[in-house]
Symmetry: C2
Subunit: 434 residues, 2 copies
């Protein structure tokens, strides 16, 4: 993409309303614009990052055996009356009346809708296990939306819902999502720690939050140092028993601030790490909480009706855009992990209008591929181009000026390390094709 044609409204001033670094950088780098409190328009660069995150989430859900559907954003209140949550949910639910005065709502979550789909479609235990997910916009009417996309009102989530015949089978579904989440966050370039979370009246041990580490994170995490270095499971066969992987990850101490245990921590000594983090995922087994009141049953192997055991598994997709920035930035701007970068390379023409420099840039642009390169062909000062490119945080920069072109060299800069080197054009092409 040529920057002269790209809609990238960067800001020189730091917007006053932005209290945290990801919010500031998302506004300054032209990723989003606020439409109303907690409601944003995603501009091309921000949209491209969100789509890449969404695709990684999708691939890992599919790999784990979940199937993608799409539930609507507007839901019927009647289903929520069946589950008993309509009155209980409170003011965060955006309640709506349609032209016929029927009660609707903008879905803050989807347990009721998916349970209704299940009970209308599935009759037999032979159709289990089943895990259905979607990636859809939700709305929670926060009293005081803030921190940009980290605590917005309209936000994009992946949520999956599993249906099983009994708790043992539900544990396998849970473990599949546990492992898929480890892989998902690692692919996004994040260190994510699973923390035991409250299971409330459901009880048991099947509730985990996934917290990504970021110095600017909202909450404190206490954990064993070994968790930070634990290798991510590769080549997983999701049909096999995953309990050993889950045990391996949950066997080490890890706790949120409100649940941490100073006695255990003093035993850990030097192995204890206290860090800050951001919640980006939550997996939860809730048994028959919705299937029982809503009558989601199947015929079991012996012909009897069995109320299915359910779990839900969320990932904050739009929130992850902010979380990744919180985890990966410096004083000059964003540093995108390669897997989510909107473009792989930023190509800087330091003398637009100079025939030799233009020709060298045009050749690099075509060879590297317009889909992978954002080419700054604007008539702007070199300083402004450097600042903008650092701000938007593409992994690599290729800096092309007339002196270098005369010598057949360009400068190659790694955004994360800041390392720069002068290399031949051919060598730059070879390196960036990797």
């Amino acid at each position: 993409m040529r920057l002269s044609r790209y809609f990238l409204p960067t800001l020189k001033e730091t917007p006053a309303e932005a209290q945290i670094v990801s919010h500031r950088l998302m506004l300054r780098a032209g990723l989003i614009r606020q439409h109303a409190a907690g409601i944003y328009t995603w501009l091309p660069l921000g949209f491209a990052v969100m789509k890449r995150i969404e695709q990684i989430v999708r691939e890992e859900q599919n790999r784990a055996g979940a199937q993608e559907v799409l539930m609507p954003t507007i839901q019927s209140a009647d289903l929520w009356r069946e589950s008993g949550r309509y009155e209980a949910y409170g003011k965060e639910m955006l309640r709506i009346k349609d032209r016929h005065e029927r009660d609707l709502l903008y879905g803050p979550t989807n347990e009721e809708v998916i349970t209704d789909v299940f009970r209308s479609c599935i009759r037999s235990y032979k159709d289990l296990p089943l895990n259905l997910y979607h990636i859809q916009w939700k709305f929670r009417d926060e009293v005081r939306p803030r921190f940009g996309v980290m605590r917005g009102r309209e936000f994009l989530m992946k949520d999956a819902y599993s249906f099983d015949l009994d708790t043992a089978a539900a544990r396998h579904s849970y473990n599949q999502m546990f492992v898929a989440y480890l892989r998902t966050f690692a692919r996004l370039g994040l260190k994510a720690i699973p923390l035991r979370a409250d299971t409330g009246p459901i009880g048991g041990d099947m509730s985990h939050e996934f917290i990504v580490l970021a110095e600017t994170g909202e909450s404190e995490v206490h954990c064993h140092r070994a968790l930070l270095e634990k290798p991510i499971p590769e080549g997983v066969d999701y049909d096999t028993d995953l309990q050993p992987i889950v045990d391996d990850w949950t066997g080490l101490y890890a706790a949120a601030d409100e649940m941490h245990d100073t006695a255990k921590e003093s035993e850990l000594g030097d192995a204890l790490v206290t860090a800050r983090g951001i919640e980006v995922g939550h997996i939860f087994h809730f048994g028959t909480k919705y299937s029982a009141p809503m009558g989601a049953t199947v015929t079991g192997p012996d012909g009897e009706a069995v109320t299915v055991a359910m779990g839900s598994y969320g990932i904050g997709v739009s929130r992850l855009v902010g979380a990744i920035i919180e985890a990966s930035h410096d004083d000059t701007g964003i540093i995108w992990p390669e897997s989510v970068a909107p473009y792989h390379v930023g190509l800087l023409n330091l003398k637009t209008g100079d025939a030799a420099t233009d020709a060298a840039c045009a050749s690099l642009y075509e060879t590297l591929g317009p889909d992978r390169v954002l080419y700054d062909d604007r008539e702007e000062r070199a300083g402004a181009k450097f600042a903008d490119m650092d701000l938007i945080g593409l992994p690599w920069q290729v800096i092309v000026g007339p002196k270098g072109v005369a010598k057949g060299v360009v400068e190659l800069k790694n955004r994360a390390t800041g390392a720069r080197e002068e290399v031949s054009t051919e060598s730059a092409l070879a390196r960036l094709a990797e």
Copy 2:
């Protein structure tokens, strides 16, 4: 994908509420389930088709130079007061109050939001032309939603908005979308006819509806026969003058029922075609209708403030799923065009449990690729498998039974033509790899 694990709740009975064939087939083939009046959950097969349509729409928008953004579903009423449409829009607008009693609405369209983005980001004529699009859910509170996804309340649309310095430049933006639409509908396997549409108080000739031909269509189209056979523009350079292409397409007689001209039609004689169709797109130049009241101006070449000229360009993405079925089905079910088919091949195992047949199917499945094949490995009667596969309409069927396996042959069936032939396994693989 193995059908034994796939969530495909087909229906044997034709649902009574479905009045048109696409609605019936979408319910029967397990593409959608109704959640509330005019609001649907998309099940895996329907979701996959919608995603393929969306991707073709996206590719052709990008090719024409439009840039993808994403506006929120929930909009502030204040912007609609600025444009003067808040009161005027009527009961189709879903109006909402948030917890602080602020007026919100679920966007039925996005002129106000995009004009607001534009005026907050763009200052100079040098940043024009600009065409921004998004693919997002909208809500129109129809009095009587019906015909499934063809006239739902929550529906997915692509809408693009162009911004130009003057009408001549706006005409080029309009022509880019005109040509992109011809290409988009052709890639979807549809015959689409552009019809001159009413421009109301704006005047001029820049408003066209795109109607796909389907015998079961809602409206009547009168046009010159040559339009049906006109070749679709290939390898278009969208930066060149596209007026000759547009003139070529608009020079032939074509009119909706309410605008048709019997005098002109009698001149056409045998060249006149009267057919039925479904509106799937609409492009419209509306000049300064929103930019003037909302103050969307740029500094022009002479330093003066210029109110930008705008156009909007819609495609009904979820509606297209229904429209494609209306245009392409037979008595036994859907016939997906290859470009939007959720899977390329349906593999039918006629004797699940027979070792040789299972092995032959497993080998075909792996070789053709689980992403391209829906493998019916269920323990079901052959008749049920034939019926389900015809119903869901994948372009090719590979039918594998024990007798054929013994001879090294399978049956290959083309869903559209119904042609079946017995071919060697190798030959089937070669044909389907094409």
